[in-house]
Symmetry: C2
Subunit: 332 residues, 2 copies
């Protein structure tokens, strides 16, 4: 097995976030499910955007955020995802390439526009997301280059890929190539509603395909349909070589080869917007893992990257993550 | 003269800002003039965007920011400016309407794309701007509705309108309508390089057309080609009924009917990005003026709105300006 060219290759829904502030009353009045990611069609996207406040646009997508964070930490990364050849597609492409990420998926030249996620951030820093998948839904197995997956130590994918049908096939193709090449496969469960939609398939994936699983408390309990976090923890220990389970301010619990480690959250002076906390945790963890760090160091890297993400609007890192990690005395 | 429907109607270049962080070395290497607004063509825009870091997109344009700030303070406002019917044009339109601003200028259906301002913010919080005017350059006198200008207490315009030829004509048409209807005309000099380009015309405007002039120290000294701030101050006293001259952390100096008032800057805990400081100062000042506040209160309103703008990335207000003003004990 040759030395990998990339630490991580990510496959995800390529999305531009449209972020505005709003109240709980706004969510209720406009039937937006608080704290969740809800899929919407183009008409609903137009309607909701019409009532949202003034916004900022910033490249997003769960896996895109993770890959951006990994690159910001100094890792080598590639991204696979579908945009259209429109202005928001150019924004997404520019931003991920500007971080040094290899992104060469051909944009769609017709059909739906680049995907948008309409995010309303409430004063309690929670984000409620309404996603119009648009061009992202057009990802197919043909968009997964075999060479790229073979050349990546870890292939990382988001559960959200189960929503558009072709993207799921792309996921399975990539997982097959990665394992045949002796590489690792990683999955984030993305969202507890997403787990509700695809529980059976995700449980099979965790058992058969996934070497490194990311989930938060709600997602992992939903996956195994259990009432306590510990019950979910004991189940995932049997299924996956590595699992990183995030618990917001309670930190994270890591499974590594059957052993359990508990890692504190990083203190944050002000939580402004929790968008991207999980995505950036995964970035830190995968960065550590690809550099051969021990599981607790991987978890601390995740916590540091997540803490940076929630201290500002938008899910991509704004501070110099490499310097931040160095300041905390973590040499990787 | 009937009661005005709008406190302020603004005419400006409708621009979406693309904001990224960069170093002084980046500016030098890419020949970006620090602290200035430089006009660029489409090729240069593509080239510069290609080397810029990952960015956020947020509605901007000097006059657009002022009008947004005025609406956020509780004023009634209209905006006139040209976008294209593309994604960034939709973003601009959505954001300004979401603040309750009347914006009905018909978008261009062909020709150049919506204007973009590529902004690099250096660690000293200065912004260096490269503007591709695109569709904004297509504004003509036909885009200025006579009824709207007549129905506005103040018509506010940016010096930048002198760059695209048709927009200058739109400006002059609006000034004529406003004065015929007994309304006030206001101008911001925009930028000292802009003053360099149009000094003779701007000096005539100040003398003959402008009731309320906004300028910073550099701009007003450049306008009158004098070496001291005081010399510029004495000149503008003769030309304009009102002038508000901003001096960054040294506050502002206000001329009102020949009298001079000195107003302190509002303290800011951290200056992150000075983009929009002047635009938001004008918003506060015009809001006060339209509500009949005294000149010093107008200046303080300007200082408060400017202080909010420089404490975050992007030129549009993020905090609740109305509440902020109330907290400071300013009743208008």
């Amino acid at each position: 097995m040759s030395e990998p060219k990339f630490d991580v290759a990510g496959i995800g829904n390529a999305i531009v976030d449209v972020i505005s502030e709003g109240t709980d009353e706004f969510l209720t009045a406009n039937k937006v499910e608080k704290g969740a990611m809800t899929l919407i069609d183009e008409d609903r996207a137009t309607e909701l955007y019409g009532v949202m406040g003034s916004a900022i646009e910033v490249s997003g997508g769960s896996c895109g955020n993770t890959i951006a964070g990994l690159a910001a930490l100094g890792g080598t990364a590639a991204y696979i995802g579908k945009v259209r050849d429109d202005q928001l597609g150019q924004v997404f492409t520019h931003d991920i390439r500007a971080l040094g990420v290899d992104f060469t998926t051909a944009p769609a030249t017709d059909g739906p526009a680049t995907a948008r996620c309409l995010i309303v951030v409430t004063p309690d820093a929670q984000r409620s997301m309404s996603t119009y998948l648009g061009a992202a839904g057009g990802l197919t197995p043909d968009d997964v280059p075999e060479d790229l997956i073979k050349a990546s130590a870890i292939t990382y994918m988001e559960g959200y890929l189960w929503d558009p049908p072709g993207a799921k096939e792309a996921f399975l193709k990539a997982a097959g190539i990665a394992h045949s090449a002796g590489r690792l496969v990683s999955l984030t469960l993305s969202d507890s509603f997403c787990v509700d939609r695809f529980r059976t398939e995700f449980r099979e994936l965790a058992k058969d395909e996934v070497d490194i699983l990311f989930a938060n408390e709600d997602e992992i309990m939903s996956l195994y349909e259990v009432d306590t976090f510990d019950a979910a923890l004991q189940s995932v220990r049997k299924d996956c070589k590595f699992a990183a389970l995030t618990r917001s301010e309670a930190g994270s619990v890591i499974v590594a080869d059957g052993e359990v480690h508990v890692v504190d959250a990083e203190p944050v002076s002000q939580v402004l917007d929790t968008t991207g906390a999980g995505d950036l945790y995964a970035a830190g963890f995968l960065f550590g893992l690809s550099k051969g760090a021990d599981p607790v160091t991987c978890g601390r890297l995740g916590s540091i990257a997540a803490a940076e993400a929630i201290s500002h609007y938008g899910a991509r890192p704004q501070a110099d993550l490499k310097a931040l990690v160095k300041d905390k005395g973590l040499a990787v």
